[in-house]
Symmetry: C2
Subunit: 799 residues, 2 copies
């Protein structure tokens, strides 16, 4: 095999490349400082300087250096590269480069490729009404904000999966490299299949300092770093220095070597050479000074190569003549007249260094994933429906039913759908998908291993951060996916959820960004059925976190059974630019709705279950028993079952809520029910006993503008948990059938006195439960074997 | 220096140790399976078996193996060891070992050290009314739940800091090792000072499998692992195999070597030998089969050494005679008669293997940190107070004022207080602490470096996970600390907060667990002043997350200025068993209250600011302008300033809330104001315009039971942000003075028509703001230079 490079960079090329780099640096400094006089055609005056100096210089020259060198690689090899910029706060560099290559002006014509455009370019940066200081959705070529550090490399791998023609250079700052999520991301190669996936080239950029501290890896010896990354499975390649000329040569040669390696690994794999070991993919360790080419010292203090270069190295350029002179000298050191012509256009010989068309990293469709998105092929959910003869007659594991639907998705979408989970896919009862695909596994597979394969499409690593980050990268580059997770531990990625929601909020408003598939969560092993794992596994609070985000972004679904879960899952997978949270049960549980009923129910988001209540036609019920979530629904029906036995004259309505957003008013959320529809369901004045899956306050928060809200009495998780039986979990939190029935009696005016004996009976039942579980360690048969309806004909009343 | 071990283990010792291990394994299996017949004195019958089989066998024999060997080390060297059990789901092992050594029965006398106690021991495990399935607060010797994986090693380092006489062996499962937080934790040695701190001995336990997957590190080659951990800076020592006899010898010798190394490093450092490089601390890589010594196969399927051993390897022991026989054989394989005497007591020669008294790992006070906790020495906050002549006259950086107070804490508490932060301590304006101490830094220090030292007490790493985990470990072992963080990124540790809150909730109810110092957060660089970093840095939602936890655990404070921050900071640092969240400003901002006023205000939690309003004595105001948070307070006062100018007849009351919990009713939270006090402040019927730091829904949630709640009109963060000016941030979210003043006018009945001209004027001011910022990129002078009160004498009215 030919392992040599197409050709090494010539000195002439490198000299041109250095000029290109200077141009990017010039434009970066200009963005941070200038609001006028962009080409320094006159001496800098105070009014040329922005009143507030914002931006991060320190990382920027390194980002520009890498970008310029990658341009050479693209032209030389005709590759598709997606540049992931971990130090996203180096926003000026990303903006500068996309302007230099022409994409910026194509997308934002006002920022034209001339002096006037340059003036706009400078002024708009970190300016009210302009653009953010970080790489952001507004930045062409970016799928990564870089504001919250830690996710660059995991995004890079997510982008590379199932994109065999894509290579993702990923710049990782040495600050970011200290975070946990980044440290775990290095394992990504163990899930990357060189035959079907693209490649990731991590570039660890050690400039030595964070905001005010040295970095751990920056101070590590080369030998420690070599061992560390070899241990992670990489071949580390070093590029170290501060002399631009030497560094250009070193970087060009090292990139040639790295891209040769990638090409070789891909060729081998794609020619069918298989191996039990993961290739030692190259990664680059670039040591260059922080604030490289900037002022060496300011006011006698070290700046270049130190943390003082982090943000704005010369800070008083309006007020202080000396500072302004320093800035002028700094800008002039890039020799703008050598870079830009009279009209402020990049000189033609430098323009020629950028790739063409969609090969430009700012213009690659891989960074605007909606352009690549193919609709997901789905089957009619009726194919997978649970047959329901009578509500509550059948028991199923709801997530297992969904798994059949997901299997078909895998079958029909062999290259753009993946399922992610932290070693919980089987536990969440989705094993049916393994009939069709396997878990991705590139390391050794032993003869007794099960459901592992290099071409598996289920991604499992014991890191919620990795699952979330891979999925984000996968979606942002135009594919579809689902993250299944234990409900309690999804909080691990609260902040990643935040950042993705923020990304969507902004990108939805950019006409040039095409919609991407929604980020879908299937949360199972939820609070009510982690009775065996105990208190640390019991937390339904992710919904509370989600609900703070913009209404047009987030959706939360609590399907009570398998058919509703099928509708919800199918619906979510077909949406775009949203975040959908689905919480569903994995344990055998009663099934309530036929497929037709499920469809009607879910389309409205909530509704009355007439077969469950016993209200008289044309009359308001005495009490509304509402529920959201599978276990609360079961307990509510069991409570209603008791009420109908003990108090047959009590008129009860049962309401189930699948789409939590429907509780809000229409002006709060597009799914909100219209006022009259809401009132028709919940009445305007009857007591509502609401059994909720999560923390009770959330229902109040969602429904507080509703007419009947003062009569809502919500029960949910009260932060009481331990290892116990499933039913005892509900009793601990007073969400069980007995407490719900008691609450109903207490809330119906005048009933308490009349039904004193019933209240006593319910109290006795609670006592019997307590005695039984403490004696036998399992739920009392009356509860364990309960089935709706407990009396013949009960299901018919009110139907 | 003598580098040899005190003595190697003899064969006799190892034979005894093997019996001890068998005893622990026997008791572990017994806990998972048996509710009677604990010593197998009769053949196993269905009724001896628990009806629900819960627990995790897979990791347990390894945990027991390590525990037994560490007992030998303790006796041999007279050491204080704290056992951190990362695989906390191996709860049966931890319980078994603490029972064997006697601590369990001392704490829980009912679970006595005999057959009857063993019966209790077995029955209570994962049983309603019994103990959880995981290591938990109930488990003697534990500071670590292990339910949510990732934090064992960071807890271990937190425990070791400032505990020179403590060594912390930390078992890390290979599942946990895949998580991000764990991957970053290996860097802990770079912050560990061998002279003043204890040591951590990581034991990476590779049993090869997670729930249903192989593990990444389990499948890595020894050479890759060696390089990986050498690269992290460790000396990896391997113990691999499955033959117990060989493994005992190997483990004993390896532990001798590891503890020799630790002793040597500590001796060198404590004799004053300094070095610029971090010692290559030992770590152990233990490869042993999952479910070691358990059934090799069940129903023809591989179990030992495979993921099927993860939980309950033989699952149908009640129903299936073959399974029950398998269980009986398995239990008998440990030869209980060789281990326990007639009364079910551990035989004396095995009892002798456990350490004595507080050297027992279940009894060490380091695992019950409250026993070691010394009160923090604090100074009178008046020493640090900002002098206030007139409200609003002075500008200060509030956090910088607190930093002076913290400096004194460092001075007065040289060995039990630390400050943690992800490279944000200087950015959060706490640099004053560097007058007294430095950042902890064990790697090379260069001559131009600042505020780095091996004995520094400020812990900075760019990982919120590490900061949180170190602090948790530090607090749980009896010390005090504070975590300072950018507000938006504290979401990174949402789930760690959750787990710590759960730990506190349970441990508070255990009489034998002494209270530990509260976990204190100082969140600065908050949503309203991340105008320069943009949308990714703007998120006030952590409070919403916090508020879901039990009322007796959490507190949230929003001090509006420096003197209130001093009171709050001082108060929080003196509390125990709580989690306190303080959100405070770091930018120069108006100072409102004198120290006396601040104390009175904070003690109540909220109150009327009479000098700010203009209500007439004895009459209800027309409107209440309420605020919580520094920027909302400033905007509220500016709004009131406008109202008093434009509508001098309008009677306005200003209310400030410092303690968010005071908004709740007394039955919801112990800090809740009594009804009459609340009504006296907020009135029962006047409109309340509430300017809030966070998401508006939170105020509704807290105050929804208050009489005047229907009249609350809350403004806060509406998820609108970007890089812009500080004032424009408030305008984007309609929390600015103009919108607040407009809201007040609209809410006072009948005022809208009368004040139409004022509404117009306010609208003009908004337009002027928009025009100005887009032209000049900074706030309009009218806002930038605003000072309370804008008119002479304005401050006196209503005073």
């Amino acid at each position: 095999m030919d392992t040599s490079s197409p050709h090494s960079a010539t000195e002439t090329e490198l000299a041109l490349l250095d000029r290109y780099w200077r141009a990017a640096n010039y434009l970066s400094v200009g963005q941070i400082y200038l609001m006028a006089n962009p080409l320094l055609r006159e001496p800098l005056q105070p009014e040329h300087i922005k009143p507030r100096l914002l931006g991060h210089w320190g990382t920027t020259p390194g980002l520009n250096f890498i970008y310029a060198h990658l341009n050479r690689i693209i032209r030389q090899r005709d590759l598709n590269l997606l540049y992931i910029c971990g130090p996203g706060h180096g926003g000026p560099g990303m903006v500068a480069n996309t302007w230099l290559e022409g994409t910026y002006s194509e997308i934002y014509p006002k920022v034209s490729a001339d002096a006037q455009g340059m003036q706009h370019l400078f002024r708009q940066f970190s300016f009210p009404g302009g653009i953010p200081s970080h790489a952001a959705p507004e930045t062409p070529g970016s799928i990564h904000e870089g504001g919250e550090l830690g996710y660059s490399l995991v995004h890079a791998f997510g982008a590379a999966f199932d994109h065999p023609d894509l290579i993702v250079p990923c710049v990782i700052g040495d600050g970011e490299a200290e975070t946990g999520p980044l440290a775990a991301s290095w394992h990504g190669t163990k899930f990357l299949n060189a035959a079907r996936d693209g490649a990731v080239l991590p570039i660890l950029h050690l400039n030595g300092y964070k905001i005010a501290n040295p970095t751990l890896l920056g101070r590590s010896s080369d030998e420690d770093l070599r061992q560390l990354f070899a241990g992670y499975g990489y071949e580390p390649l070093f590029v170290s220095g501060d002399d631009p000329q030497k560094m250009h040569r070193l970087m060009a040669d090292t990139l040639d070597r790295a891209f040769d390696r990638i090409r070789d690994f891909q060729q081998q794999a794609r020619q069918g050479h298989t191996s039990d070991s993961v290739p030692a993919w190259p990664m680059i360790i670039l040591r260059s000074p922080k604030g490289w080419t900037g002022p060496k010292t300011v006011d006698g203090k070290k700046v270049e190569g130190f943390w003082r270069a982090h943000q704005v190295p010369v800070s008083e350029c309006r007020e202080n003549d000396e500072h302004r002179q320093l800035l002028q000298n700094w800008l002039q050191s890039y020799r703008p007249d050598d870079l830009f012509d009279e009209q402020g256009r990049l000189k033609p010989e430098l323009q020629a260094l950028a790739p063409q068309g969609e090969k430009r990293m700012g213009a690659t469709p891989y960074a605007n994933g909606g352009r690549l998105r193919k609709p997901l092929k789905t089957r009619d959910i009726r194919e997978f429906a649970v047959k329901i003869d009578k509500p509550g007659d059948t028991q199923e594991q709801s997530t297992a039913v969904l798994a059949s639907y997901l299997s078909a998705i895998f079958r029909d979408n062999p290259d753009n759908f993946r399922l992610f989970g932290p070693d919980e896919t089987a536990s969440n009862r989705l094993s049916k998908v393994f009939d069709v695909t396997n878990r991705t596994w590139m390391e050794e597979i032993r003869d007794y291993d099960e459901q592992l394969a290099p071409d598996g499409r289920v991604m499992e690593i014991l890191s919620e951060h990795q699952c979330q980050g891979w999925l984000e990268g996968y979606l942002l580059t135009g594919r579809h996916g689902l993250f299944n997770c234990y409900e309690a531990f999804i909080h691990i990625i609260d902040s990643m959820f935040n950042q993705h929601a923020k990304w969507l909020k902004v990108s939805r408003k950019l006409p040039w960004r095409e919609p991407i598939a929604s980020l879908n969560y299937l949360l199972s092993s939820h609070v009510w059925r982690q009775d065996h794992n105990g208190y640390s596994h019991q937390d339904p609070g992710f919904i509370d976190h989600v609900i703070n985000k913009k209404a047009d972004i987030v959706r939360v679904y609590l399907p009570p059974d398998a058919n509703t879960l099928l509708w919800v899952g199918d619906h979510c997978l077909k949406t775009w630019d949203r975040i959908n949270v689905i919480i569903a049960g994995k344990q055998p549980e009663p099934q309530w709705l036929s497929m037709d009923e499920a469809i009607a129910h879910c389309e409205k988001g909530m509704g009355i279950w007439p077969w469950a209540g016993n209200e008289k036609p044309g009359k308001q019920p005495d009490v509304v028993m509402a529920c959201a979530g599978d276990v609360p629904t079961m307990e509510t029906l069991a409570a209603v079952d008791l009420l109908r036995q003990y108090l047959p004259d009590l008129s009860v309505r049962v309401v189930n809520v699948v789409d939590l957003m429907a509780l809000q008013t229409r002006d709060q959320h597009p799914h909100g029910l219209e006022e009259q529809d809401f009132d028709a369901i919940f009445t305007r004045d009857r007591p509502v006993v609401f059994a909720f899956h999560g923390y009770p306050a959330l229902i109040h928060r969602l429904a507080y503008q509703r007419n009947n809200h003062p009569n809502f009495h919500v029960r949910g998780f009260n932060e009481e948990g331990t290892t116990t039986t499933p039913f005892d979990m509900t009793v601990l939190n007073e969400l069980d059938r007995y407490h719900l029935a008691q609450e109903a009696i207490l809330r119906v005016p005048g009933l308490q006195e009349k039904a004193a004996d019933v209240l006593d009976k319910l109290q006795e039942k609670l006592a019997a439960h307590h005695a039984w579980v403490r004696e036998y360690g399992e739920d009392i048969p009356e509860v364990r074997d309960w089935k709706w309806p407990s009396q013949e004909g009960g299901g018919e009343v009110g139907d």
